[in-house]
Symmetry: C2
Amino acid sequence: MVKANPERALRDLYELREMGRYKTGVHRPTLSPEDVASRRWLAAKLADIGHSATIDGIANVFGRAPGAGPHVLAGSHIESQNQSGWLDGALGVIYALEAARAVAEDPAMAGRGVDVIAFVDEEGHFGQFLGSYSFAGQLDEATIDAATDRSGRGPMRSLLGEAGLAGVPRVTMDPARYRAFFEAHIEQGRRLEAEGLTIGVVTSIIAIWQYKITVEGAQNHAGTTTMAERRDAGTAMMRIWHRIEERFPDVIGQHSVWTVGRTELTPGAPSIIPGLAEMLFQFRDAEMEVLERLHEALAAIVAEVDAEGPCTARLTQLARPMPGRMDPSLQAALLASGEALTPGQTLVMPSAAGHDAQIMSQHVPSAMMFVPSIGGVSHHWTEDTSDADIKDGAAVFVDAIARVLAADGG
Amino acid sequence: MVKANPERALRDLYELREMGRYKTGVHRPTLSPEDVASRRWLAAKLADIGHSATIDGIANVFGRAPGAGPHVLAGSHIESQNQSGWLDGALGVIYALEAARAVAEDPAMAGRGVDVIAFVDEEGHFGQFLGSYSFAGQLDEATIDAATDRSGRGPMRSLLGEAGLAGVPRVTMDPARYRAFFEAHIEQGRRLEAEGLTIGVVTSIIAIWQYKITVEGAQNHAGTTTMAERRDAGTAMMRIWHRIEERFPDVIGQHSVWTVGRTELTPGAPSIIPGLAEMLFQFRDAEMEVLERLHEALAAIVAEVDAEGPCTARLTQLARPMPGRMDPSLQAALLASGEALTPGQTLVMPSAAGHDAQIMSQHVPSAMMFVPSIGGVSHHWTEDTSDADIKDGAAVFVDAIARVLAADGG
């Protein structure tokens, strides 16, 4: 019978935290030296258990299990946000590694196997789900050519080159190979903790629709240009922002959230009227109907401010993914494993954060499992999960994958 | 009789433009290699006419005229904003140089003289009027220690060191030496052009009150943190901004202007709720009473948003200068010279931009003269003034200084 070794998974997570450690968390942005080191470390771990392990041309780490099958694919992302938490996606990568090991160690599973994937840049330093889109065969070279680090570390191509990956081919998946994709992740919210539970079984993953709003006015002197003469791009941008906050509460769904994450006035000097203003805006929901309604409301606000003048305002949609529906039979497998190993500790819930599983779910039946986040903290170095929860999560995750592999006659 | 050589002044301006030339303008930020070169060039020009010329410990260029007096001080600033206009303050520096030369060349003026000053950093790359405050004896070393370039070129101390000015003493003025301070500058607005006039005689210089508004919330995940749980520093900052735009029209004076020149959300990522938001805000007026009223309105808005929660908001006043009153008898001298040399071409007007003369006017009777800006363009490389206007301005400026020197028995 397949059995996880949760202590071993925990030791791996501790070891991985040392790559880019920052206080009790990590600073391991995509393609940083620490991130590249962690990818090499993972590839070596996969090779150790007989997987064919590669780091491909976009830095996805892929470990292909030997054997005729059936196979499950499991994984998440290994890089972190800047100065961020130590678990986040790394937890899901190590759970996948543990599942691959546990299945490989069980003679009854001969021929069956767990392929392991660590997708690159789920955290969006360079783009939106570049790793999972690439693995799914949905990413062209031009998108990589254009990708640049949001924190100013340079073009993705340069960092791939520094990692020795220039010219290396990218690996795309064969969906027919897989019975399922499994991803584990920390919850990044407070629901499990608030209800005193350990395992979250995800029903659907919200989609994040991302926008850039660009306002163009006229750069001018902040003293000699009268208020009437001004075409202040900053003030026009603020009017868009204010109307979003005023009107969105009337059009949202029950779980919708929206965020202005970044603003920039150009040239950004105290005595110059901004001639250009940009803002990054996103909203999230699990229902297409709600997403489309929010899009309409946003487009109307931007068009309205554009029509009012004296500045022009333009809306650019950067990403418009579908919400990710998790497969019901795989949810049932996770629930059965949860009930067997952590009785009464399981919660069925949507995911309020985006994950690679939403890309994978368009190609392969997919499942997603959460463990609790202490205080709901995420994307900050204080993010944490108790050792007990980490170990319980590993056991349930591995058990559910084993159920799927065993149920399948091969 | 003292007579300017306007062609010579124009040639000097063309020569000066080549130091840091950018398209038809210049990129000569404070203490850049090009700026330092222009200061050395000016000091050499001053030495050529027998002035004792120094570049002091903050990079003010000061040329002290020989002779027992009486003396007038004249000048402006020589550095530019980034990728900006070729005239701006450089025009006033060259007019001052021309006045010094013309007075030195006139035997009837023996003993009298024009000291020339090129104040450092009027453009505010590092601070607020650092050069004129230093020359006025109102700047301590700690302020220079803390000054850092807003465009990321590093601390002022480092750049002073690179210019060979580390440890060089600063020069402070002796107000008793001067009958007057004269500054010339481009108008940076459209009033002279709109009325088809050549010479602006300034009555008062508006004061710029500068603020930093800091909002603190809680950085968190933009998906898993519900709208009700959020402490979004960006949205709270936007509420302050919106209320400023709503309420300022009711409390301003006739010529007040206000500007949000820069905003920054931290960490500034699309999927992270900003935990910190900062905005640079300024307003301008020539009346203390109006300035104080605007300050009260601003403080009330910030206190209100702070009290409403869930974020804290704090107002920091970065600069609170007095408006600069120009001396009436010196205005009369400029008007008389304008009437003599460019009859019917003179306009009496306030200055909507800040200038070193507002600092000088607290110590010495001061005067300020404008020439037209084509299209009102300022702080942009397309800024320009016609050669004819540049030459007329030089003639009037020099004549007015000669009047003041001649009127004084010495």
